[in-house]
Symmetry: C2
Subunit: 231 residues, 2 copies
DNA sequence: GGAAGTAATTTTGAATTCAAAATTCAGAAT
DNA sequence: ATTCTGAATTTTGAATTCAAAATTACTTCC
């Protein structure tokens, strides 16, 4: 294997490193996505050399990215024994949703006080798109909008710590949902809950909004729990 | 400056890199502490070369540590322009305490259900030591025990996500408290609140414990807020 | 045929090197 | 004196190199 012709940066265009603020961030971003979508199996070992070739970067920025991901808990670094993708532990996923639920509750309280009319209209608009996706059974676009609306809600809540914290937790939530491969029944229920959220938001009813958003996350958690622990 | 005699690892023993699982972690740990205690002033630029000499390590592990700290939000990495210690933004500190308050609330709910008698006895013991420290006005030891009791409480709550999340937020809380340079008046009140927490825990009164722990964090936040915004 | 020990290979951790970008400094022009 | 220009220096980003540890493969012995 000495005469392997090194291919141009990478074969798979989906894996190419593009629009990079800095190289390690681009690599971290890519890795996150790969772990999220289970392209890297939980528990599997990550070969530095292999990933370097895949991404077309040297080990330095890759290893920097690995350190960041390890800090986020997506991978584990065993000293002198390489990086492993963390397993999806049902207990940890359960714990995660409990934490997310109280954070959503906080978000709801703040939103009722702070959302402007324009912002509420924007949320309504995203919600309408989501309903349309549901009716057309456009699953992945619904998923994308769902991420987006959550992101905007934490942003509009005006608590910057919450807004910075949520995405990294959401990454794990999304990973668990991928693994759980949610069903349609829950989809309908979820849309209804979003409807209730919009109503409470428009009424600016803090306690109600807080309760519903928290409950929504709890129920999502229940559904994921059920599928991860088929007992 | 070509004949500089390189000193043994480092001059200041307090800065020496010791008990390291891996080098970058040890460096990250040290840096966290230095930022926490305002040895590195908020807003100040971090010179890689200088820190390498201080720690006696090469740039590689230092830069890995910087990436991790940036991810935690303790420093900012401006591309091609170095690392800066993040400023302590009063608004962000305020937001932080709001988030911590709901997390403490969750912790309280869980603790009432899950703490064993032995664990409650352990918490009581730490609390007793804290009271003794208060009576003897041993400020720094009280501070240390306060960190410890919070850490144990999240651990005993049994929610691993909470237990992993809290320390990194606590780092920022501690940093804000250092910056605010808390006064004695609040100290007495704080001890009383801890007393109430113990009582609720022993009664295993979930709602009460949740409320008190959350309130305790909110009040700490109020005190810090007041000192950071002297208006 | 299987286990144990040892050499070769691979992989990791960390220092060094190299190139590009930013900063500093000196000198010239206004 | 001040501002502009451009070379020298420093600092950063990333690749490469080197040493130590771990893994693999091979040989020998039972």
């Amino acid at each position: 294997m000495s005469d392997v012709i090194k291919p141009p940066p990478t074969a798979n265009p989906a894996l190419e490193i593009v629009h990079s603020p800095s190289l390690y961030q681009a690599v971290a971003e890519r890795l996150r996505l790969m772990i999220l979508e289970n392209m890297l199996a939980p528990g599997s070992r990550i070969s530095e050399k292999h990933l370097c070739e895949t991404f077309g970067v040297s080990r330095t920025p890759l290893r920097e990215a690995l350190k960041v991901l390890a800090n986020e808990g997506l991978i584990e670094l065993l000293p002198n024994r390489g990086a492993h993708v963390t397993e999806i532990d049902p207990q940890e996923v359960s714990d995660l949703f409990d934490v997310m639920a109280v954070l959503e509750g906080l978000s709801g309280s703040l939103l009722a006080d702070r959302a402007s009319n324009e912002e509420i209209a924007e949320i309504q608009s995203i919600h309408n798109q989501m309903v349309a996706c549901y009716q057309n059974q456009e699953r992945s676009e619904y998923f994308r909008l769902n991420q987006h609306i959550h992101h905007r809600l934490t942003e509009i809540s005006g608590n910057r710590v919450l807004h910075k914290l949520a995405p990294s937790l959401m990454t794990k939530v999304t990973r668990a949902r991928y693994a759980a491969n949610m069903q349609l029944e829950r989809w309908e229920q979820s849309v209804e809950e979003h409807e209730l959220i919009l109503q409470a938001l428009k009424k600016r009813d803090g306690p109600a909004l807080s309760a519903i958003m928290s409950l929504h996350m709890q129920k999502t958690g229940d559904a994921v729990r059920q599928r991860l622990q088929p007992n």
